[in-house]
């Protein structure tokens, strides 16, 4: 990874490539949205509640968790708590994204709604700020539109789609995240962090409530980030007075 550039000199190439990928990510998560719509209504949520979740909550993992807890006979508020726990990672994404995107204050409430795994993963791998911004907005909007459209269709076609595993759709999300993250995994430190994070998350799954393993992985990033004294090449340049502030 090179230093983040303020100007993208290959914009004529970068722009269509980013937009094409954003649409691709939207289509892939849309396919997953079909199964959310179906599973959510099968779990006892109404079509309106299902669509409300996709519009307002808009974070796949949290939505599936809520529907899963309710469908499994759990109390709705337990489902809400699990959804919130899973949603905490979006807050961590925001920490990284705000410096990358440099949003104006009026843009922030809009941008917040589309801070999700996909828009973050597409944005943080870019080498220029304009590309990072374009990747964030185009992916966020593409996923938002297609996810909501798919939710409605899935909610009404519940019977045909109740078991998305038959279509292998449960393999879609991990494969998508892998494809999105792979550019970041070329240098050594992110690779080590990724490997340790995966091991920590898997090892803790049987021991802690749903949602917590991913947060323990965040602790791995904190430990490595504070522990390493080396200047990483993909760090953003800092003004001298900001260093060690």
């Amino acid at each position: 990874m090179t230093e983040l550039r303020e100007v993208d000199h290959d914009w004529a190439v970068t722009r269509p490539a980013v937009l094409r990928d954003a649409l691709g990510v939207g289509i892939a998560t849309g396919a997953y949205g079909l199964s959310f719509g179906a599973i959510s209504t099968a779990s006892g949520l109404s079509v309106l509640q299902t669509c409300f979740l996709s519009l307002v909550l808009f974070s796949g993992g949290s939505q599936f968790a809520l529907a899963g807890v309710v469908g499994g006979g759990g109390a709705p508020m337990t489902g809400a708590a699990t959804a919130l726990l899973l949603g905490v990672r979006n807050g961590f994404y925001g920490l990284r994204l705000s410096g990358l995107l440099r949003l104006r204050s009026w843009q922030r409430p809009l941008a917040a709604q589309i801070v999700i795994d996909e828009s973050t993963a597409m944005s943080v791998v870019r080498t220029s700020r304009p590309a990072a911004r374009l990747a964030f907005w185009s992916t966020g909007i593409s996923v938002f539109v297609l996810w909501n459209l798919a939710t409605v269709i899935g909610a009404f076609a519940a019977d045909a789609l109740r078991d998305p595993r038959v279509l292998g759709l449960d393999a879609a999300a991990p494969a998508a995240f892998l494809a999105l993250m792979s550019p970041r995994l070329r240098s050594r430190e992110p690779r080590i962090v990724a490997a340790v994070a995966a091991v920590v998350a898997l090892a803790s799954v049987p021991l802690v409530p749903t949602g917590v393993p991913v947060l323990l992985a965040a602790a791995v990033a904190v430990v490595f980030g504070f522990g390493s004294t080396r200047r990483e090449p993909d760090d953003e340049p800092l003004a001298p007075e900001e260093v060690n502030a």
Partner: protein
């Protein structure tokens, strides 16, 4: 049901907004910024691992692992995004059908 739906939805939106609104001054420290850089990597790989290898609160190797393996190979060969995802679904579906 509605109270839970509304609490989860507004809460998750608030979490996103708070993350974006943390003053940049707080993040200006080089190490803090380094942590912020590594957070998406750690979180997304943890998600990959838990979504591919767990079921509820148990570890489980099934067709999803085969799908993920197919995705790894496709990424190695620099396949386009939709090909990676489509191939993973296809392999998972076929392995599940065969099992």
């Amino acid at each position: 049901m509605w109270p839970a739906v509304i609490v989860a939805s507004l809460g998750c939106y608030a979490i996103k907004l708070v993350g974006l609104s943390v003053p940049q001054k707080w993040l200006a420290n080089r190490r803090v910024m380094h942590v912020a850089n590594l957070l998406p990597v750690a979180l997304l790989t943890a998600l990959i691992a838990t979504q591919a290898f767990t079921s509820g609160r148990h570890l489980q190797i099934d067709a999803r692992a085969a799908g993920l393996l197919a995705a790894v190979i496709a990424v190695r060969f620099k396949a386009p995004f939709l090909v990676v995802v489509g191939l993973a679904c296809l392999v998972a579906a076929v392995v599940r059908l065969a099992a």
